[in-house]
């Protein structure tokens, strides 16, 4: 009843089937990038991709996810290379960052189906709440990510995680590759 795929891995949750997906992701899978902000679908901080749709994971139970493909912020890319993630850093979108996983997932789903969204389409897709006021930058970042997806622009704004010290030292003279040598 509660078998489905999360970030390309098969999972079976031994939880109450009525448990909202949000809490299975956060408290059972430790995928804490997906946030709780309201539990009523208002804020969108828990937005994930289910079979290509942007869904508030607080409003869908794990039973309803049976057999479906769930992608969270952790599964969007392995190295922050998704155009939306790159555009988000290039446009300096996040402030506190708490709502941003949900924003990024909603934007990624929007752009997958439409690489030239109009303002009205962006408005309709981005119904998440951000209290820091990142809205103007979100619009700009979505347009920028769209340009990347259309092949009109390249961005390298966010470094991948886990850069090895040797590689860092090759790029940054002030870093010592091996302090003991």
């Amino acid at each position: 009843m509660t078998k489905f795929s999360v970030n390309d891995r098969p999972v079976e949750y031994r939880m109450d089937p009525d448990t909202p997906l949000l809490w299975a992701l956060r408290d059972a899978s430790n995928l804490t990038g997906t946030k709780y902000g309201c539990g009523t679908g208002d804020c969108g901080a828990c937005t994930v991709d289910i079979d290509g749709e942007a869904i508030r994971s607080c409003l869908v139970t794990i039973a309803e996810c049976e057999g479906r493909l769930v992608t969270t912020i952790e599964g969007l890319s392995r190295d922050r290379s998704h155009p939306v993630q790159q555009a988000w850093v290039a446009e300096q979108v996040p402030q506190c960052g708490f709502c941003q996983s949900g924003m990024i997932m909603a934007a990624a789903v929007l752009l997958r189906g439409n690489s030239s969204p109009s303002d009205a389409e962006i408005d309709a897709a981005m119904t998440n709440i951000c209290r820091c006021g990142t809205y103007p930058r979100i619009r700009a970042a979505i347009r920028r990510a769209a340009r990347v997806l259309r092949g009109e622009e390249r961005i390298a704004a966010a470094p991948p995680p886990g850069i090895r010290p040797e590689d860092a030292a090759r790029a940054v003279p002030a870093l010592h590759p091996s302090p003991d040598s």
Binding site: M15, T19, P20, W23, A24, R26, D27, N30, L31, T32, T34, K35, Y36, G37, C38, G39, T40, D42, A45, I73, E74, S77, Q85, W88, V89, Q92, V93, P94, Q95, C96, G97, F98, C99, S101, I122, D123, M126, T127, N128, I129, C130, R131, C132, G133, Y135, P136, I138, R139, A158, P159, P161, A168, A169, A171, V172, P173, A174, L175, H176, P179
Partner: protein, 762 residues
């Protein structure tokens, strides 16, 4: 450990020169201030931990053998970018390569006391006027000493850069001197002839990495006074560097207090009942414990927490426990709040600020008056109050976002009966806050639950708890009275403001550990200059007075992004607009005529109206203005807004800001944009009614917060300036509501005198 000896309180800058003799005299003159020898400045050593191969230079800096430079940030990162700004100041002064900069949160220590905010706060409490300068100086010195001794590391009042730019720069300069001394020793050169750049010490053609010098450098004795780096050809200061926290905020890896995961951890939700002197009366234990996934119930006299295998199961179990609360006294309601404000406005108040002779100037003249009403404002951060706590033997560890870590730790220690030294607090990033993290109840509750169940526990308030139990920014009612000169300009202005004595409450909760209802009652009737901050006009008005009329509304209130300025600017800027209309003047020229003494604000206003295409404030133009100065910064805003069949439409906001020198213009721009949208939310919503002691709103959508589709076009410009940095986190907030209200008046001829603007007309 070598390195500079950090001294707090003995710095030449910012501390009045007081000898013991003048202190004693001052203390006596100040009315018996108890000043013991123990307030004398003392030296504190940094309590940092060095990793292997890392060397502690001072309270703000560690350098590794590998060349990384760890900067220590003593402020809560809540989106304002402080964990990039302070490192940027340090990196610039020491001459580091930006790519080698690492960031750590500071441990609790007197070295990181925010003496500026304590001093400003105290000055707002007890205005300096009427107190001889030397007494004021001594009082302020004593307050700073108090702040240091109690490690008051407040994050508040847009003070991060204003407070810490100096200490960060000094710390970096001292560390730089040590690195140059070590390099000079190896080269047999004069260290003062060395320089630094991109993480190297340079001399002639020679250069050495910081990393290669760190171990030796940390053993030198620094110069008595910091020697600053000559300005670089390519300074990091002023550059639009990418925030250091962004990569982790786009892949879900940035950890907040609720993202900590520990072995054997369980999840808790809480119910606290109505505001007031509330006790848990009964719960249905049998039904609650039978709820699936339920593990423990923790019963406190003021709240009940359910602990389960996941948070949702815990929160669901609370419904089944069906707690019944009992509240002593008359329950809080919107009606009672409004009645208390009206009553306070009619009663005597405290005169907080004055100039000239308002009574004399107003006598026998036609007085123009208007009343304004502002609803309570909720913080409503997307992250609800959250903390994680774990007992390990006789030690307690707590992860929480807090704007007052030392006071948070003290409260936890008191509630759990542990010594403060047995409590380790991990300062986390806040998911918004907007000053909500000045309250640390959630950390205390998590600690109590962890102690009770002897397992690591995560406690998150539900959204309904957050709305119901987060004390809001105070509601306020004002009566504005003016008389005009023969040219229609303002000759005299009285701003009478009925509002609770919020800052007494905040202090009592924060420093005296009082429950909200007790602190509220204790504050009743007290004069609170900070509660009417920003009401003294920036305009050249010959006679003015600002009165605080303390209102006993029963509801605990809190600090909030923009604090009192968020309503005082609404009162003043709307009323000035009314007077301009009455005088038949253009609201721009009416203001400009009174801004001769405030050239920086006048410049902002002229630039904003030029950029925005000001049409002279003609009826039907839908354009409105507001300007304001606070925390050493100035802002002017031009709004274009109109009523349509879809409701209030804010089409454009054009802001011009003079915030002095900008450490990072990109972050400054984020802060102004964010402040404007926060102000927009408060102009249209971000509030709730109260009934029977609780908020009537339970869900986020009931707060009317703007979404992307309601976000206007925003244009932000900064004035080039070499002034010392002003505050930037809050100043965007206060101007929005009055600029929109003024635009709506221009568009419709209808004057809205209440916030939110969407409410019934006053």
């Amino acid at each position: 450990m070598a390195g500079i000896r950090d001294t707090v309180g003995t710095r030449a800058r910012g501390t009045p020169r007081v000898t013991r003799r003048s202190l004693l005299i001052g203390a006596t003159a100040a009315g018996g201030l108890a000043v013991a020898w123990s307030v004398w400045p003392r030296e504190y050593q940094p309590n940092l931990t060095a990793a292997e191969g890392e060397h502690i230079f001072n309270a703000f800096l560690k350098i590794g053998d590998d060349g990384h430079v760890s900067t220590i940030v003593p402020q809560c990162e809540m989106g304002q970018g402080v964990s990039t700004l302070l490192p940027q100041i340090i990196a610039d002064e020491i001459g580091a390569d930006w790519r080698t900069i690492a960031v750590e949160s500071a441990p609790i220590s007197p070295l990181y006391a925010n003496t500026l905010v304590v001093d400003e706060d105290s000055a707002a409490f007890m205005p300096r006027a009427g107190v001889p300068d030397f007494v004021a100086d001594v009082r302020s010195w004593v307050r700073r000493e108090w702040a240091v001794r109690h490690a008051v590391m407040l994050t508040a009042n847009s003070s991060s850069v204003r407070m810490f730019e100096g200490p960060c720069r000094d710390a970096a300069a001292q560390a730089r001197a040590l690195l140059m001394m070590e390099a000079a020793r190896r080269w047999d050169a004069d260290w003062t002839e060395c320089d630094t750049q991109d993480g190297f010490v340079l001399h002639g053609g020679k250069r050495l990495r910081f990393g290669d010098l760190a171990a030796g450098a940390a053993k030198h004795e620094p110069p008595a006074q910091p020697v600053y780096r000559a300005s670089s050809t390519d300074p990091l200061y002023g550059k639009e560097l990418t925030r250091l926290d962004l990569p982790a905020k786009v892949d879900g890896s940035a950890n907040f207090a609720g993202d900590i995961r520990l072995p054997d951890m369980v999840y808790a939700s809480i119910r606290q009942g109505p505001f007031g002197a509330t006790r848990v009366k009964s719960i249905d234990k049998r039904a609650g414990l039978a709820s699936p996934g339920m593990l423990y119930v923790v019963e406190h006299e003021r709240w009940i927490a359910a602990v389960a295998r996941n948070w949702w199961a815990a929160n669901r179990a609370l419904d089944r426990f069906a707690p019944v609360f009992e509240t002593a006294g008359e329950p809080i309601s919107s009606e009672r709040i409004d009645a208390a404000l009206t009553r306070a406005l009619a009663a005597d108040g405290w005169r907080i600020a004055r100039a000239g002779d308002v009574e004399g100037a107003m006598e026998g003249r036609t007085q123009i008056a208007a009343e304004y009403l502002v609803a309570p404002a909720l913080h409503a951060p997307v992250e609800t109050r959250t903390a994680t706590a774990a007992i390990e033997g006789d030690r307690l560890r707590v992860w929480v976002a807090t704007q007052a870590p030392a006071q948070c730790r003290a409260a936890i220690a008191r509630a759990t009966g542990l010594a403060e030294q047995a409590v380790t607090l991990f300062p986390m990033m806040a998911g918004g806050s907007f000053d909500a993290c000045l309250d640390h109840n959630v950390a205390v509750q998590a600690a109590i639950i962890a102690r009770e169940i002897k397992r690591p526990v995560h406690l998150a308030w539900s959204r309904a708890e957050e709305i119901m139990r987060g004390p809001p920014r105070a509601p306020a009612r004002a009566k504005m009275i003016a008389t005009l000169n023969s040219a229609g300009g303002i000759d005299a202005l009285v701003s009478r403001i009925a509002v609770p004595s919020t800052n007494h409450e905040v202090r009592a909760r924060l420093f005296d550990n009082m429950p909200g209802d007790v602190a509220q009652r204790a504050s009743v009737g007290k004069p609170d200059a900070a509660a009417v901050e920003g009401a003294a006009p920036t305009y050249a008005i010959p006679h003015y007075a600002v009165d605080h009329c303390p209102a006993d509304i029963g509801l605990p209130t809190a600090r909030w992004r923009g604090n009192a300025d968020s309503y005082t600017a609404f009162f003043t800027e709307c009323f000035v607009d009314e007077l301009a209309a009455r005088a038949g003047s253009d609201p721009l020229s009416y203001r400009m005529a009174m801004l001769g003494g405030s050239p920086l604000l006048a410049h902002c206003l002229l630039t904003a109206t030029t950029l925005g295409g000001w049409e002279g404030g003609l009826p039907g133009s839908a354009q409105g203005l507001a300007c304001h100065s606070m925390r050493g910064s100035h802002i002017a805003l031009m709004a274009t807004a109109r009523q349509s069949d879809k409701g209030l439409q804010v089409e454009q906001l054009v802001a011009v800001v003079d915030a002095g020198r900008l450490v990072n213009p990109a972050i400054a721009r984020q802060q102004i944009e964010g402040g404007l949208i926060f102000g927009l939310a408060a102009a249209v919503g971000a509030t709730t009614d109260y009934e029977g002691g609780v908020a009537t709103a339970r869900k986020l959508h009931q707060l009317g917060l703007p979404k992307l589709s309601q976000s206007p076009e925003i244009l932000v410009e900064f004035v080039d300036s070499d002034r010392d940095p002003g505050g930037i986190g809050e100043i965007g907030v206060p101007v929005v509501a009055p600029a929109i209200a003024n635009a709506m008046f221009a568009a419709t001829g209808r004057r809205i005198r209440r916030l939110p603007l969407s409410g019934q007309p006053l």
